[in-house]
Amino acid sequence: MSLCRFLPNPSDRMAIVWSLLSIKDSLILEYGPAGTTHFSMGLYGSLGVDWKQVLFTTHMDEDDVVMGDVSRLEKAIVELDTNYHPKVIFVLASSISSVIGTDIKGVCNYMQKEVNARLIAFEQGGFRGDYSVGLTEVYKLLVNNLVEANSEKKEGTYNIIGASMGNYRMASDIWEIKNLMKEGFSYTLNTCLCSQTSVDQIKQMAAAELNIVLSFEGLEAAELLLERYNIPYVYMAPYGYRQTLEFLQKVSEIVKKPIHKSLQMRIKGKLNNLAMYKMAGMMGRKPRFNYKAIVKGNYDLVKNMSSYLEEVGITVSDKICSHSTKNIKNISDDIKFYTDERDYLQIVRAARKCLVMGDDVFLEQADNTNIKVRTGFPFIKGSQIATHMPLMGEKGADYILEWIDMYYQM
């Protein structure tokens, strides 16, 4: 890899940890140096996930590394099981244990008979790809290992898959999806992978009528649930009014229920206003320059947010994906992932009078002739407290529209 001036992309392992931290009644045990675990707490805290006495480390010393001694790991597993009685212990490899070839899965297999907790091994040590790879893996592994077949069907419920706490405003986006599903169909959330969930909730995922997949990383898990338990899914991260209506329409087709009229009328009204707004924007205020945007973020955000912006007459000149795109099927050609920072730096540093959307690091590189909107992680200024300020759905569309309006007025 080349020089990294800012924050590198979080690894697969980091995404696995921040996802697992959202699962109540489970503990995470990292088999690696304690410093990595301690150092990581600042990041996880900023994502809004609680790590206190959930995330443990064995530490590793030279003997463990040189001799491949895993007794420390074995003892730690027994200790956590005896002392905390978790339903599941997720045993995670580290970069060191991966490189020296520790058989974490093997240890979990033979230790399983010694403990009551279910042991689930994650062997990703941070070398299999970036956080996007980790998210795909964690959703899939959770579905494979925990979901039970004999769950009684719960009518009027759905699961969310692909809600990564590593996404900016994810808690708010979940809140918005819940509101839309409640108001549109009187449906309630069964399980969310992975935010504020529990081992039991994941076990009962098969009870839901429908899966809502908010990111492509959740697709493989959704396919597994379709194949095994015949649960259909809707894959869409809805940004803007049109997409929100489309999303509701897709759900409606699957659950075979009409969208509640008042919700439908309200969003349609806003969509109509958007068209008028766009005309007013163009006619009332003569364009003084080419309205242009640059969007950087997760694949689904980049793709769908760009569509929203294009609906209101803003050309998205650069669509920059913040993670590797090699696992995305049918990816649009205009969405790029740059492995060398210099490539995207060149783009953002050259931007003038643009609407720039992205994370704080990216926004910092754009000069002040631009309108900058934080839509991604990492954020380095301030904090993320509200859980009712989404980027997705109707409320998210309102919020983004305010920025668009500001941009038109600049």
Partner: protein, 433 residues
């Protein structure tokens, strides 16, 4: 949960049985939160050296956390600042990172023009065995600036202090022999502001020039000229290897002026310091000495018999505990990741009064059950205040002592202790203990 305080205590060792750090037990194999990493220590040290750069070589994870730590720091220059990294992928792990490093370094020189660079290697580099000492030497010759390798693999050490120690010790390579300018260097202040300390004021009032302050704040140029000092003042153990190196290389003597609590020890340090400086010791030192001795005597009435658990403070672990014992306080558990021959003198003093339990630090999860068993009044160090209060225990906050050296550190400690004892008594009344 079924952790039992008695079981946890049974895993502890008595201080009298400890001969080396290996005798200090880790309470559990699964730790929370665990110790800090030497990489963090290295980043802290480089933060204090203006115009230098830190290049972290490691996994996405190590490099992410190191950069994340520096983003909010003005010293580092925020997001665009002087902490960068070379992130290793599986190709680098298999075939080595030398080529990648050379290419990244060329970009660093072009974009940042640093005056010196610290190549900080992490666990993975030490496992794959890339020779960063040689790489640093090559780069140093190629670009004609000091480039130093600092090794921070955590599996070979206990906590973050080796990272600080190795970074500042590496600076010796930049120093050149130069004429004595009668200054003093301040070595090893890792936190706080030396200019806010009593020692600084004493030196300033005596007209002593302050030279390099490493790692609390200096420039590369000051490091290069540091050998012009008359005396090195070592304010923390992390600087002892550097001080010894400077003594053997340049003949500069050093005073070990840690953040001591015992007034006699502090007074003796002042005497030695002014003797090395060949200056008369200011009279105010004696006045302060007498005042602090009186404060110590006065505090005994409040502090005698007060039990506590020692976690982590800016003070010197065994010296502060020995001092607290001399006040009549009772250490029930001492947590420490360090134990060497220098500690023996203080350990002997502690053992004259009591034989406390000892265990490794940075593992507060199992301690929750120990509190119920031992019921201490005070916890000295970092813990969650609300949950301690629910058990009738008050925290002694002492982080502010990072800005103190000299008698002021003792006075501040006494003040905090008395305050916390009063709090603990109130909590215990609330809980009807």
């Amino acid at each position: 949960m079924t952790l039992q305080g008695k079981d946890i205590i049974a895993k502890m060792e008595k201080l009298s049985n400890v001969k080396t750090v290996k005798d200090i037990p880790q309470l559990t194999n699964a730790m929370f939160p665990g110790t800090h990493c030497p990489l963090m220590g290295a980043a802290m040290a480089v933060g204090g050296i203006e115009n230098s750069m830190i290049v972290v070589i490691g996994t996405d994870e190590c490099t992410y956390y190191a950069k994340n730590m520096t983003i909010g720091s003005e010293k580092f220059g925020g997001i665009n600042g002087r902490c960068v990294s070379v992130v290793l992928d599986d190709h680098d792990v298999t075939f080595g990172s030398t080529k990648t490093m050379h290419s990244a370094f060329a970009q660093i020189m072009e974009e940042y023009s640093p005056e010196c660079v610290f190549l900080v290697t992490t666990c993975i580099i030490e496992i794959i065995g890339d020779d960063y000492d040689a790489i640093a030497e090559e780069l140093s010759e190629q670009y004609n600036i000091p480039v130093m390798a600092v090794h921070t693999e955590h599996f070979k050490c206990e906590d973050h202090f080796p990272g600080l120690e190795r970074t500042i010790t590496a600076c010796a390579a930049m120093m050149k022999k130069c004429p004595c300018d009668n200054s003093v260097n301040i070595l090893g202040q890792r936190l706080g502001n030396f200019a806010a300390t009593e020692l600084y004021k004493v030196l300033k009032d005596a007209g002593v020039k302050i030279g390099m302050q490493l790692p609390s704040g200096c420039t590369v140029e000051e490091i290069k000229k540091a050998a012009g000092a008359k005396v090195n003042i070592v304010v923390h153990d992390i600087a002892l290897p550097l001080a010894k190196k400077m003594k053997s290389k340049f003949g500069i003597p050093y005073i070990y002026f840690n953040r001591f609590c015992e007034p006699e020890k502090i007074y003796e340090n002042y005497q030695n310091l002014f003797s090395y400086l060949q200056l008369e010791m200011p009279k105010e030192i004696y006045v302060k000495f007498e005042a602090v001795k009186k404060a110590v005597e006065d505090s005994k009435e409040v502090l005698k018999g007060i039990t506590y658990i020692y976690g982590n403070t800016p003070y010197y672990c065994f010296e502060i505990n020995s001092f607290l014992c001399s006040l009549g306080m009772i250490p029930q558990v001492i947590q420490s990741n360090k134990f060497d021959s220098n500690d023996q003198v203080y350990v002997a003093k502690i053992l004259q009064n009591i034989d406390p339990y000892i265990c490794k630090s940075a593992n507060i999860a199992p301690l929750q059950y120990v509190y119920d068993e031992l019921k201490p009044y005070l916890y000295m160090g970092h813990e969650f205040a609300a949950r301690l209060r629910a058990k009738g225990i008050a925290i002694v906050h002492s982080d502010a002592a990072s800005n103190m050296l000299g008698f002021e550190a003792t006075l501040f400690l006494l003040m905090q202790l008395e305050k916390s004892v009063n709090e603990a008594k109130t909590y215990r009344k609330e809980l009807l203990i």
